[in-house]
Subunit: 412 residues, 2 copies
């Protein structure tokens, strides 16, 4: 393809991204058990109801001691009992007494030190001797030293990733308020889907977009239905009419260019959608279409992806992710990495996303482009771990710093 | 905790990782529909049975032409019909003829050029005129230009990520051979799990490890059961005896230290497991335990994680991931990034994994440590996006290059 860069009326990648990130209304908020919230976004800050640790405890397996002496080396202590982790004692230590304790065990009143067992010599069932001196309050974890009751643990917008989920579990948070997960449906348009290899001889192609979108959305955390629909205006309109009431987002592939069978835009308009933008100064993915259907209590968005699978892939990583996040009120800029090109690169009239292999060398991210970048080609995704933004109309040289996105579940 | 670095018999992180990666036997291979293979590893190379593209096709919406002229500017062509994507024509173009065609449409025999519609003037229903000259074979995608029939698409060991799945779909691959997903069970040991905030006053703590491991394994692609078991030797042994026959991997938390209630190792030995290693020169996670139970036709591995949740988190990101991958015959070194420390860092007797915030500046990855790194603390996981390896016994200065791992589904 050639010469498409000069076309008028196209918006830039940054303009398109800003519209995708700011335009959607946030979905409603729901209260869910914490364990069901992996990869959701927090709608209300969470404060701890407890101190962490909640009680003074031993950091090691050893002995809790009570002593007012300055130097404990060679001191002996009377052992008055044992405390397992998860239990407590009624004992109160007085000067010269010790109690057997394990990691996480609640230290009894009167504890001044904890001695790890490696520096303790057991002289009898009832007597221990310290081999080394230890400092006061050694190996004691104090109440609230990590988090104090009432302290904010997580802010609005926090993604509940594995670490966040674990940290909130540790504070005993049973439920949290998160934005509802978007209800998404995928509509694959086009008459060209092959069922068998024989179909390829009659101008059909195997469907990459359906499996691609199903997998992409599953990885994002959403199970979706994939519909196939013929290039036929009435069918497409009927489909949108029905789906717009049931879903928060319709993702289509194909049918958004200027061909005579590109029904997605006219059918969207016929069913009450209004265009937010159409066509982005980018490669691949120029015909990208974004529209909204707004009612008082419901909005449905339509992300019209091009039909070429590389465009589908790139547009989902960039705009699809941003849009799904925005529906959950997460509107932060994408986290672009910056890396250094390892070779020269020819100029192109449109800004491009190239599939690259990114690797680290001495703290520096190096970017190596892959062959077969055309929008109908996908095989280089076996090697690619990143999408890199290439500015338009510039001959780039090795050493140029570029921004990009890592591909999920790739090597990094 | 202090002074633990000098202890003898500990192995290094690299030694432990090598054992975790090389010791497990690969699981059996199964043939599955491609769509069910997201995040699995390929057990047999896949070759394409078709050419991609499978037929010569238009790269644009426009007209397929037949002409032997050198300069096509201002030439007129007779339009003899139309070809939709997904269909074909019986027409054969002869010199001076054109046919309407759309992106992906199969070019008829005799096609010498494709002209995109932007450079075509429609003069009548039957006549078009070219506004610009185009080169021979312009905007034609040729048979096999991306992939030729018989060519290898994906090699053994390829992770079937979203891009790989899409690329194989496009080649019409219906089934692939992948390593079976590991059957994993999680056993949380310890009497100290609190059910309500009131329990915290009696020395108990909320369970972070169960939710953490459930979420971590779900993110890896595995749904697992979480069992809780008391610190009681007979129960632990009974549990292992049963589980070792049903599962490929038992992951335990707690009970692997040297305390009197640390039953995991003795009970593993009592039920036929043999130790591969115990104790790693690292912080957190020193007591990490790895054992194997080998029968003729079945092996079960036991990864004994410490009880502290930060140790659980770190050990899963490093060793858990490597072990699950190795069970699927994926034994490549972990993909460590390299980044530059932004501040000085005190020395420690053990090699450490610190939770850090990593960010890019001009192609350089910068690493900023977070506070509250102790092994019983998790709250900094709200901010952390990486685990960074800190060598032992060295006072580090800003600018030092360190290696680390990005945390899944964090910002990068």
């Amino acid at each position: 393809m050639s010469g498409c860069g000069a076309e008028k009326g196209l918006i830039s990648i940054d303009e398109a991204l800003a519209l995708v990130q700011t335009r959607p209304k946030a979905l409603t908020v729901e209260t869910l058990p914490l364990g069901d919230c992996l990869n959701r976004y927090l709608a209300k800050a969470v404060c701890s109801k407890v101190d962490l640790p909640s009680f003074s405890q031993s950091a090691v397996d050893g002995y809790a001691l009570s002593s007012t002496l300055e130097n404990l080396q060679n001191c002996t202590f009377e052992v008055i009992g044992e405390i397992k982790a998860g239990s407590e004692t009624q004992h109160q230590l007085i000067d010269g007494q010790a109690i057997r304790i394990f990691t996480g065990g609640k230290t009894p009143d009167g504890t001044t030190h904890v001695a790890r067992q490696e520096i303790v010599k057991v002289e009898s069932d009832l007597t221990i001797r310290l081999i080394e001196h230890i400092k006061p309050q050694a190996d004691i974890r104090f109440v609230g030293e990590e988090v104090q009751s009432g302290q904010q643990l997580a802010d609005v917008g926090q993604r509940i990733n594995i670490g966040a989920l674990a940290a909130l579990s540790m504070a005993g948070i049973p439920h949290i308020d998160v934005f509802r997960a978007p209800k998404v449906v995928v509509v694959i348009t086009g008459d060209e889907v092959a069922e068998t290899p024989e179909d390829l001889q009659t101008g059909k192609v195997f469907d990459a977009n359906g499996p691609l979108l199903k997998a992409w959305l599953k990885d994002y955390g959403l199970e979706v239905d994939i519909l196939h629909i013929a290039d036929e205006a009435e069918q497409v309109s009927q489909c949108f009419e029905q789906l717009k009431q049931q879903y928060d987002l319709i993702i289509t592939t194909g049918g958004v260019s200027v061909g005579d069978y590109d029904f997605v835009r006219p059918c969207a308009f016929a069913t009450g959608f209004e265009q937010v933008f159409w066509k982005v100064k980018q490669k691949p993915g120029k015909p990208l279409f974004f529209a909204e259907f707004i009612q008082q209590d419901h909005a449905c968005y339509l992300l019209g992806l091009p039909g070429n699978p590389a465009a589908v892939y790139v547009c989902m990583q960039v705009y699809g992710k941003a849009l799904l996040d925005a529906l959950q009120n997460q509107r932060q800029p994408l986290q672009w990495f910056s890396g250094m090109l390892t070779h020269d690169l020819k100029s192109d009239a449109r800004e491009r996303f190239l599939r690259m292999n990114a690797y680290f060398e001495q703290g520096q991210l190096k970017l190596q482009s892959l062959s077969k970048q055309q929008s109908h080609m996908l095989s280089n995704l076996m090697q690619a771990n990143s999408l890199v933004r290439i500015p338009a109309n510039i001959q780039l040289q090795a050493g140029q710093v570029l921004s990009g996105l890592f591909i999920h579940h790739s090597s990094y």
